[in-house]
């Protein structure tokens, strides 16, 4: 993870000479390549779809698909309305979707071929190998995995592992510049310790990075990538406690609202990482009382499967970035937010980055 991150940072930052780098896109490339390697055991370097790195392509595809979910043709007719291709957004969505599906299918077929020939099997198989093994084992049973199921799982993990982590890192990069010198020094000290450990990084060192951990948690509170969940339809009429939910109604939860609850967080609009540091006077006891009041990764049986990986990735990537590079925001830049599928900067955050 560390070597790959360092390599991508230097490759991309040097290629663009450090000027005006879209930081979200850079983090998407890093998390995309990491996820691809971890889950699918492959390299993404030099692979493009219509001239774009697959992570960037997927991110744009998600954005345009999210736009289509809000479109009247979808609200009235569902997928059939999109498939009519009446508007450019429909046609772009269908085209990009087809391209991306074909790219992923190719990747899977290549892996499948290797798998059938017994190549690349190890004691620590990647996720795609596990899926292919499952498919083989479950053949002929009720639980058989189809090729389409593997394809959709592949895309789910690619998207889930890439997009939310890169959004969290983008927000963290912005909030770092808004911290006092004292806070910045404390964060930098831990970042240097982590990055100096290099590939020998150990779990206790990661756990010791208390300030970085708190900083990421506060980032997830103030500008959580998933401010609301993926909405759900009530399959039957029922009560949630005393609230009557009629069949067909949409039910969701507003994590972002709880994150700004003044009864839980003192001065909720203020970014204060000390809320999460035990023993600090600003430590928020209320926030720790109920596990359902702060849920950036959701909770319950369908919580985020990649939450631990996201935090580990976040700590490592942020540490490497802060300890290796100096960066500046565009003059006068203040973050405005928009809600696509995720909560993100309304205006692209371009950074000028140079090596220390």
């Amino acid at each position: 993870m560390i070597k790959t991150t360092q390599h991508i940072f230097s490759r991309e930052i040097e290629a663009r000479k450090g000027k005006h780098i879209d930081i979200l896109e850079l983090f998407q490339q890093i998390t995309g390549e990491l996820v691809f390697r971890i889950f699918f055991g492959g390299e993404l370097e030099n692979i493009t779809i219509e001239g774009k790195p697959p992570s960037t392509y997927l991110s744009k595809l998600i954005e345009i698909t999210a736009e289509n979910t809000r479109a009247p043709e979808n609200l009235l007719l569902g997928l059939k309305g999109i498939k009519l291709g009446l508007f450019k957004r429909n046609r772009d969505c269908l085209h990009q979707c087809k391209k991306f599906l074909s790219f992923c299918s190719e990747m899977i077929q290549l892996k499948k071929k290797k798998f059938e020939q017994g190549e690349g099997l190890s004691e620590t198989p990647d996720l795609l190998t596990i899926l292919l093994q499952s498919q083989k084992q479950s053949k002929g049973t009720d639980d058989e995995f189809s090729d389409e199921e593997i394809l959709h799982e592949f895309i789910t993990f690619f998207f889930g592992g890439m997009d939310s982590t890169s959004h969290m890192l983008t927000m963290a990069t912005y909030f770092f510049t808004k911290q006092s010198e004292e806070v910045q020094r404390a964060l930098m000290k831990e970042a240097i310790e982590l990055s100096q450990a290099g590939p020998n990084i150990l779990s206790d060192l990661l756990s010791k990075a208390e300030n970085i951990h708190a900083f990421l948690k506060e980032t997830l509170r103030v500008a959580t990538p998933t401010g609301i969940l993926v909405a759900r339809d009530a399959a039957e009429s029922h009560y949630i406690e005393d609230v009557y939910v009629k069949k067909g109604m949409i039910v969701n939860m507003a994590m972002i609202t709880n994150n700004y609850n003044p009864l839980i967080y003192q001065d909720p609009y203020r970014f204060n990482l000390n809320r999460w540091i035990k023993g600090h006077p600003d430590f928020e006891h209320e926030a720790h009382k109920n596990p359902f009041s702060f849920t950036p990764f959701s909770a319950g049986p369908r919580n985020c499967i990649g939450q631990h990986l996201a935090i580990i990735q976040g700590k490592i990537i942020l540490s490497l970035f802060l300890s290796t590079y100096n960066y500046t925001l565009p003059p006068g830049y203040e973050m405005h937010y928009k809600v696509e599928l995720l909560y993100e900067p309304r205006e692209i955050l371009y950074l000028d980055i140079e090596k220390k």
């Binding site: 609200l75 996720l127 789910t156 909770a299 309304r346």
Partner: protein, 175 residues
């Protein structure tokens, strides 16, 4: 005589069209009136309400994004009423509730079987239909079963499993 009969036909077509239009307007008005009544009912149960014809919360988010923060309403509402239990609004004429009170959130998240992912995500289906994020009940259980059965026989899952020894245990506890 002939021109008189043509006139009659023309008049009745336009009447039919007018009637259809009238019927459509009444139907739409009725749908929004019913929606308003539902939202008022939620208000009595401790909800904060956002009612904006025609798009509802999408329209609110559009305005809020222009004003600098797409979640402005979601954040401000709890400053005014920190004890708000849930938010009630709509997408078109479909009511939507956003749970806030942790006890409601707990009840909602504890039983996902009642809640398939919303039909508004139809455009994502060609990409993600069978994946863990959007699948429901059986396909999801099958996926988890397949992962977990394999996990039990593997030492490593992600590189993370070597870092966090509880990670596999955490996954196995799911559902």
């Amino acid at each position: 005589m002939e021109s008189q009969s043509n006139l009659t036909v023309q008049a009745s077509w336009s009447q039919i069209l007018l009637m259809l239009l009238g019927f459509l307007i009444v139907r739409v008005c009725w749908k929004y009136a019913r929606l308003w009544l539902i939202l008022q009912g939620f208000k009595k149960q401790g909800a904060e309400v956002c009612f904006k014809i025609p798009q509802g919360i999408y329209y609110q988010r559009k305005i809020d994004t222009k004003n600098g923060d797409g979640f402005k309403w979601f954040k401000e509402i709890i400053q005014k009423n920190p004890k708000v239990r849930f938010l009630a609004t709509h997408i078109g004429t479909t009511p939507i509730i956003y749970l806030v009170d942790p006890s409601l959130v707990k009840a909602f998240l504890s039983d996902p079987s009642k809640y398939p992912k919303s039909a508004i995500y139809e455009p994502f289906m060609p990409l993600l239909r069978h994946g863990l994020l959007l699948s429901h009940k059986y396909p999801m259980e099958k996926t988890q079963k397949n992962f977990i059965s394999n996990l039990q026989t593997r030492v490593h899952y992600f590189t993370a499993s070597s870092y966090d020894q509880d990670y596999s245990a955490h996954l196995l506890q799911r559902d």
